[in-house]
Symmetry: C2
Subunit: 398 residues, 2 copies
Amino acid sequence: MNRTAVEPSPRLLPKTIKTLFEPGQIMAAQVPKELCRQTLGMINIDPLQTGGRLPRQSREVLLEWADGYSVCDFCAGRLDEISNPPISAFVHGDLPKFIGMDEARVTNGARESKFAVMHSMTKPGDTIVVDANAHYSTYVAAERAGLKVALVPNSGSPGYLIDPEGYAAAIEKDKPALAVLTWPDGSYGNLTDARAVSRICAEYQVPLLLNGAYAVGRMPVNGSDVGCAFLAGSGHKSMASSGPVGVLGVAKEFAGRVLRRSERFKNKEVELLGCTARGATVMTMIASFPHVAARVRNWEDEVSKARWFSACMEELGIVQLGQKPHNHDLLFLEAEPLFEISKKAKDGRYFLYKELKARRIHGIKPGLTKHFKLSTYGVSREDLKLVIEAFQDILRAN
Amino acid sequence: MNRTAVEPSPRLLPKTIKTLFEPGQIMAAQVPKELCRQTLGMINIDPLQTGGRLPRQSREVLLEWADGYSVCDFCAGRLDEISNPPISAFVHGDLPKFIGMDEARVTNGARESKFAVMHSMTKPGDTIVVDANAHYSTYVAAERAGLKVALVPNSGSPGYLIDPEGYAAAIEKDKPALAVLTWPDGSYGNLTDARAVSRICAEYQVPLLLNGAYAVGRMPVNGSDVGCAFLAGSGHKSMASSGPVGVLGVAKEFAGRVLRRSERFKNKEVELLGCTARGATVMTMIASFPHVAARVRNWEDEVSKARWFSACMEELGIVQLGQKPHNHDLLFLEAEPLFEISKKAKDGRYFLYKELKARRIHGIKPGLTKHFKLSTYGVSREDLKLVIEAFQDILRAN
């Protein structure tokens, strides 16, 4: 054969990686060890994971719908209109009400929601204005859509605050097609005044996309109150769902554009490629919904728990960066004392990870000691006490 | 607030849909009836579903990784490079070997694979050449990418065959940026001579995307043997995986373009938005892989079973359209006798669906009688005999 190379060959991963299975291998009756999850049963403070744990009942629902395309048993052509299982009632009833947006859809994740908005609201070469604390996937979605990104700066250490007025300056300078606010950002857990940003965007008639991947499903969020045109949420990060799955809220003014139908296939939404989370993922989101709707009402308690945890860590000489007092369970910590220990520790910068692992605590990235993130969301005060005592121990013993 | 409408308001779904849950509702300990799957335990001949059923062990693995972002326990930044669980070995070892492509990735589904290829290999306004039997999601992906679609016609009833030479004619006329062959198509289950199409595309230096959503995981497929530049597969349709999840194979000449990295985030692949099937879905694909790799070796038996079933149906006056003898488990049937019955039946065009449901047979779309699709894949001869007897019964009694 004689394919045309339209691009130079990339630097591919070296092919030294072994295959997982031998040819002809039939799996044993037991789940093989390498497909078991090693962190189950540990105290989990991983920021990616604390809001994504399934309540027991959703695990049963997951099994019920485990097979591929199971939710399509009675589909008449579009995922969000399936009435058995009751996806339609959820997507057009519970979900828009819960997030306070005119229209809602289930997507494959917050990044897919963001790309769908960017791709339909802009054209290649346009500029979008984004807060400097944005998640990498916001940049990558913009890059995929061929957009330039203009940043609203943060205040730098220790607060990394976003001044809403920064949006006015950036919008005046860059005439963006869209503004994005990460609310809260995934690093510092800062909750910028979203209404102030929204008012500024409205003044300049720039639609605002609120990335609520760490908000929707953890804390009360009402997109209409904020005044955003679009709201992205993450099922696996914050809605107790098996991933990948997310949500997209759209104000009615923009629904015709972002949720436009195919010219040839009149009931298919183009940006969603017809259907998105067409499997068990959406069923866990539905099954977890009563749990999620209930837990957002405990948000004040989650915040006071995060503040208490932060204060305990500060007593150990570990400083919390970002907003203070803090308003979210995502905590970014600066730990000079641990960094000092790592310089002399046998395991070097991996010592902290190993010390915590030995104490059955999971969630701080291997190799980090000076700066790391964690989340207290849904972790009991008893378990958090064990985490604090672990840090105490580690500091004392090293 | 004062958002700018950039598009006229769309015709939204009427808001008469009730919510699924009451405010404050806590779910009962038992899975509520409306979240149970009604078709479990039935004989399933749904073309969407026969290749997506999970083997028992994958259901256990699914539970192990049920929580949101569980697979990211030890992620260093990219899904396909995670070594615990062994996603890296699967994506870079087993998978490219299995599909015979230089590079492979796991995606959110075949349609997402197709869009990633179209979006990176073309620019808006370009034309792509597509077989007339293509799945709707090929058109919608092309529409999302701003492409014109030129069709290679089929031969019409009864064969709906695609002549590979049609690609030469379409390419000469339309100078496409990409060609797509649906292999097999999801309606008739026709397997066009893909090598012939590939040779023609190579002659004109047009890269070929093979949509193997109903091939990869059911039957032996080797992209290099075919000579395609890209191969899309579906986990939930044909790889015994919990959806949504798919695969994308890429020839090395095009990997630098389709799998290009972000300029700002050097290890993130732009078309995949950094990561794709970042959840339990990829784990079921891995867990099912030995089962899937074994079953493709039984393909000849699957084909002979489909032919036998087709012949039995023809004896009842139900005619199989598409290739004959048939080479795939997807069967498109034309059933004049059932259509005649439906004109007088109490339940009208729903009579067939209800008759089959009463016999615990699932998979033919409600409301269809004259033309319908089914699949014999992985269904035992004993169960298929019950299906044939059911049709016999229904024809006799009405």
